[in-house]
C-alpha cells in the first residue's frame, strides 16, 4: 500500500493536500484538469518536492519514504519529454540507471542488453536519441526504468506527445512490462481511454485534493459535477 497522510505543499498561489491509499501491484490512473495537482502528487512521491508540514507522511508498506533523497526512493520517473541525455548513446542512457559513472560489469552490460530487447530496441544501443522517433525515445526511458529495478513506476503523461497508434502500442508495452516485473504504476494522463484500458483504479484530483477514487470501470459513470465537467458531459 502507498499511503499519503496529510501531505501538503504550496506552489505559488496554490495549496495542495493529499490523503490517499493506493494498493500495490496495480496500474493506477491519476486524472484531473490541468493544474489540479496530478504531477505534484508524483513529484512529492519521487522527492522532487518536499511536503511542508511536519505531520506529513508518505509510506510505502511500512517504510517511510518522505525523508529520503530522491535517489534512495524506490521509484523511477518518466516525464513527457527530456528523459534522455541528448549527447549520449541509447546504451549509455540505460547504463546511467545502473551506475551514473557508466563503469558497468559484464553482468550489468547483459542487463542493459536484456532491457533493450524487452522494450523492442535490440541492436539500437549505439544510436543517439536524435536518431530515434519519439516513441522509441520513450522506450529507451522505459528500458532504463527496467534496469533500475524499482518497484514503483511514475509516468507523467508519457504518451501525450505520441500519435494514437504509437500511444496504444506504448500502453500495451507498459501494461505487459508492469505485469511481468510486478511493478506498481502511477500514470498521470488526460485520456479517459488510457485509464480504461490500462488502469484498475482511477484517482481523480480537483483543486489540489483527491476528489474521487475507485475502480476505473465506474469512473465514466460518475454523477459528480467535477468529474462530469472534466469529461465534458453536461449535468
Amino acid at each position: 500500500m502507498i499511503n499519503f497522510k496529510q501531505v501538503s505543499c504550496r506552489l505559488g498561489e496554490q495549496q495542495f493536500c493529499y490523503d490517499l491509499q493506493i494498493p500495490l501491484g496495480q496500474v493506477v490512473a491519476i486524472m484531473g484538469a490541468s493544474g489540479s495537482g496530478k504531477s505534484t502528487l508524483l513529484n512529492l512521491l519521487a522527492g522532487f518536492i518536499q511536503p511542508q508540514t511536519d505531520a506529513a507522511q508518505i509510506l510505502l508498506g511500512d517504510q517511510r519514504v518522505d525523508q529520503l533523497d530522491p535517489a534512495q526512493r524506490p521509484v523511477t520517473s518518466l516525464f513527457q519529454e527530456h528523459n534522455l541525455f541528448a549527447h549520449m548513446s541509447v546504451f549509455n542512457n540505460l547504463a546511467l540507471g545502473i551506475r551514473p559513472s557508466l563503469r558497468l560489469t559484464a553482468d550489468e552490460i547483459d542487463q542493459v542488453e536484456i532491457a533493450l530487447d524487452q522494450v523492442g530496441l535490440k541492436g539500437l544501443g549505439s544510436r543517439l536519441p536524435k536518431q530515434l522517433s519519439g516513441g522509441q525515445r520513450q522506450r529507451v526511458a522505459l528500458g532504463r526504468a527496467l534496469v533500475r529495478r524499482k518497484p514503483l513506476l511514475l509516468l507523467d503523461e508519457p504518451f501525450s506527445a505520441l500519435d494514437p497508434a504509437l500511444r496504444q502500442e506504448m500502453a500495451a508495452l507498459v501494461k505487459g512490462l508492469s505485469q511481468q516485473h510486478q511493478l506498481t504504476v502511477l500514470l498521470v494522463t488526460h485520456e479517459p481511454k488510457d485509464a480504461l484500458e490500462l488502469a484498475e483504479t482511477v484517482v481523480f484530483i480537483a483543486d489540489g485534493r483527491v476528489h474521487w477514487q475507485g475502480p476505473s470501470k465506474d469512473f465514466l459513470q460518475q454523477k459528480d459535477s467535477h468529474i462530469k465537467a472534466y469529461l465534458g458531459q453536461s449535468c
Binding site: 519521487a46 533523497d69 535517489a71 534512495q72 527530456h82 540507471g97 551514473p100
Partner: protein
C-alpha cells in the same frame, strides 16, 4: 499605391544607412592603398620590434582568454549551483556594471589596488614584505582583461546552465548522480557547444584592446599592434608604418572572425539573466562543494568589486572642489555626453536601415539579406584604431582633422557599436517582419500607426538596451579620442588618462568618479527610460 510609396520610403532610409556604414570604410581602405607604394616593406617585415609586438598581441590575448574562460566556467557553475546564495544579486549587478565601465576606470582601479603604492603592496609591507611593482606589463594587462571578460563570459555560460530543463535535474537526482557525474553528463555537454565561439569573442576583444595596453603596457615588452599603430602616428609620425600595422591587424582580425564563424553561430551577449524555477540538484549538500563555491564566488565578487570600490574611495578626497569648479572638466563632460548620445543615435540609425533592408529582402533575396548580416561582422575586422587611422589619413589632405575630431569620434564609435546594435535588435526586428507583416497589411495598419502600435511596443526594450550600451561605451572610449586628441578638445576619458599619466592622483580620482557616474547614469537612464519598466 501606398505599397509602392512605403517601399520607396524604407528604400531611401536603408540606402542612407548603407552609405553611412560603407563610405567611412571605403575611405579608410582607399587611404591605406594610396600609401602602399610608399611603404618600405622590407624594412617593416624584417623589423624585430614589429614581430615582438605581433607576438605579444597573440600571447596576451591567448592568456587573457584562457584565464577568463576557465575562471568563468568555475564562477558560472558556482552561481548555477547556488541559486539562493545571498550575494548572487550583488555579484550579477557587479557583472552587469563591468560591461559598461570605461577601460580607463578599470585600469585606474587596478592601479589603486595593485600599483606600487596600492592597497595590496601596503598590506604586504605591513606584513613585513618589500613592496614591488608588478602592475605595469603583462600582469596588469591580464588583470584588466579578466576584469572585463570574466563577467561577460560568466553571463553567457550561466545562461547556458540555467537553460538546462527541470526534468534533467530531477532525473539526475533520481539517478543519484554525484557532482562529478553532473559535470560530465549534464553541464559540460551543455557548455561545450558555446565555448569555442565565446573564446573567439573574448580573444578578439583582448587582441584589439587599446586603452588597457596603452596605460598598463606600452613599453617595448608589452605593446600590442593596436597600440603600435597609435605610436607610429602620434610619436613617430610614420604614417606608412601605421598603414602596414593596420593592414596586419585587419588580416589577424579577419582570421579570428573567420575562426569564430566557422565554430558556429554568433552568441547572444546581452540576454537577461532571470532564473525561473529553482532547479533541484543532487549535489547541493556536500561540504566540499559548499566551501569551494563560496570561495569561487567570493573571489569573483572581489575581483570586480574591489577595483570599483577603490575608484569610489579615491574619488572622495579634498581635491573635489578644485576639480569640480574647473571649467575644463565640464567642457570635457559635455563633450563626452554629446559624443555618447550622438554615437548611439547614429548607430541606431545605421542598424535600423540595415535591418529594415534585411527584413524586406529576406524572402526574395536571401543573399542580399545575408550580406547585411555580414556587414555587421565586417566592422569587427576593422578595429576602432585602424578605422580611425584610415580616416585620419584619408581626411587630413582635405580638412583639418583636429578641428572636426569629435565628429570623427562619433562616426567611429557609432560604427563600432553597430555589431552590438545589430545583435541586440535583429531578433526583435526580424520577428516583427515574420509574425506581423501579413497581419498588418491585411488589417491595414500602416505607416505611423504601425510604428506606434506594433513596432515601438515590441522594439522599445531592445532599442533601449542597445542605445544604452553603445552610449555608455562611447562615453568611456579612449582609443579614437586619443588619436585625434588636441589640447583644445577634451573628453572625460582623455582628461582622466592625462591626469593618470601626470600623477595628479587626487584630481584623477575625482575625474574618474565623474566619468564612472556619467557612464552608469547614461546606461541606466537610457535603458529604463526607453525600455520601460521591466515586467
Amino acid at each position: 499605391m501606398t505599397k509602392v510609396l512605403s517601399l520607396r520610403r524604407w528604400f531611401w532610409f536603408s540606402s542612407i544607412s548603407f552609405c553611412l556604414v560603407l563610405l567611412p570604410l571605403l575611405l579608410a581602405m582607399s587611404a591605406f592603398t594610396s600609401y602602399l607604394g610608399q611603404a618600405q616593406w622590407l624594412a617593416y617585415v624584417t623589423d624585430t620590434y614589429t614581430w615582438r609586438v605581433v607576438w605579444f598581441s597573440w600571447w596576451q590575448a591567448c592568456l587573457s582568454t584562457f584565464i577568463s574562460l576557465s575562471a568563468a566556467v568555475l564562477v558560472a557553475r558556482a552561481l548555477a549551483r547556488r541559486q539562493s546564495f545571498v550575494g548572487r544579486w550583488l555579484l550579477l549587478r557587479c557583472f552587469s556594471v563591468a560591461l559598461v565601465v570605461p577601460s580607463v576606470i578599470a585600469v585606474f582601479g587596478i592601479i589603486l589596488l595593485h600599483g606600487k603604492y596600492g592597497y595590496f603592496n601596503q598590506l604586504w609591507l605591513w606584513l613585513g614584505g618589500q613592496p614591488h611593482s608588478y602592475v605595469y606589463g603583462l600582469t596588469g594587462i591580464l588583470l584588466a582583461h579578466v576584469f572585463f571578460n570574466l563577467p561577460l563570459a560568466t553571463r553567457i555560460l550561466l545562461q547556458r546552465l540555467d537553460a538546462i530543463n527541470a526534468e534533467t535535474w530531477r532525473l539526475s537526482s533520481q539517478l543519484g548522480m554525484t557532482s562529478m557525474d553532473l559535470w560530465r553528463h549534464i553541464e559540460w555537454p551543455h557548455l561545450k557547444g558555446v565555448l569555442p565561439q565565446l573564446a573567439a569573442l573574448v580573444f578578439a576583444l583582448c587582441f584589439t584592446s587599446f586603452a588597457i595596453v596603452m596605460t598598463l603596457g606600452g613599453g617595448p615588452k608589452a605593446t600590442t599592434i593596436e597600440v603600435a599603430i597609435f605610436q607610429a602616428i602620434r610619436f613617430d609620425f610614420d604614417i606608412a608604418k601605421a598603414v602596414y600595422l593596420s593592414l596586419l591587424q585587419i588580416v589577424f582580425c579577419g582570421l579570428i572572425l573567420w575562426a569564430g564563424l566557422r565554430l558556429g553561430r554568433p552568441i547572444d551577449i546581452f540576454t537577461s539573466l532571470e532564473t525561473s524555477a529553482k532547479n533541484m540538484r543532487p549535489d547541493l549538500k556536500p561540504l566540499l562543494g559548499v566551501v569551494s563555491d563560496a570561495l569561487v564566488l567570493l573571489l569573483a565578487t572581489l575581483l570586480v568589486l574591489l577595483p570599483l570600490l577603490a575608484v569610489v574611495i579615491a574619488g572622495i578626497n579634498t581635491a573635489w572642489a578644485d576639480v569640480l569648479l574647473d571649467l575644463r572638466l565640464w567642457n570635457a563632460f559635455s563633450n563626452s555626453l554629446w559624443v555618447a548620445l550622438s554615437s548611439a543615435l547614429l548607430s541606431l540609425l545605421m542598424a535600423s536601415g540595415l535591418l529594415l533592408a534585411q527584413r524586406h529582402w529576406r524572402e526574395r533575396y536571401a543573399a542580399a539579406a545575408l550580406a547585411v548580416e555580414w556587414m555587421g561582422s565586417v566592422i569587427l575586422v576593422v578595429p576602432p584604431l585602424v578605422l580611425a587611422t584610415g580616416l585620419f589619413i584619408g581626411l587630413s589632405p582635405h580638412v583639418n582633422v583636429f578641428a572636426i575630431n569629435l565628429y570623427i569620434v562619433v562616426l567611429v564609435n557609432a560604427l563600432m557599436g553597430l555589431p552590438y546594435m545589430l545583435r541586440v535588435l535583429s531578433v526583435a526586428y526580424l520577428k516583427i517582419g515574420r509574425d506581423y507583416d501579413r497581419l498588418c497589411s491585411s488589417i491595414g495598419v500602416q505607416g505611423w500607426y504601425r510604428l506606434r502600435h506594433v513596432e515601438w511596443p515590441i522594439l522599445r526594450k531592445p532599442i533601449g538596451l542597445a542605445l544604452a550600451l553603445v552610449a555608455a561605451m562611447s562615453a568611456g572610449d579612449l582609443g579614437v579620442v586619443a588619436l585625434f586628441g588636441s589640447p583644445d578638445i577634451q573628453t572625460l576619458p582623455l582628461l582622466m588618462y592625462q591626469r593618470l599619466g601626470s600623477y595628479q592622483s587626487d584630481a584623477a580620482g575625482v575625474t574618474a568618479l565623474v566619468l564612472l557616474g556619467l557612464c552608469l547614469a547614461i546606461f541606466v537612464i537610457l535603458e529604463r527610460l526607453l525600455g520601460g519598466s521591466s515586467d
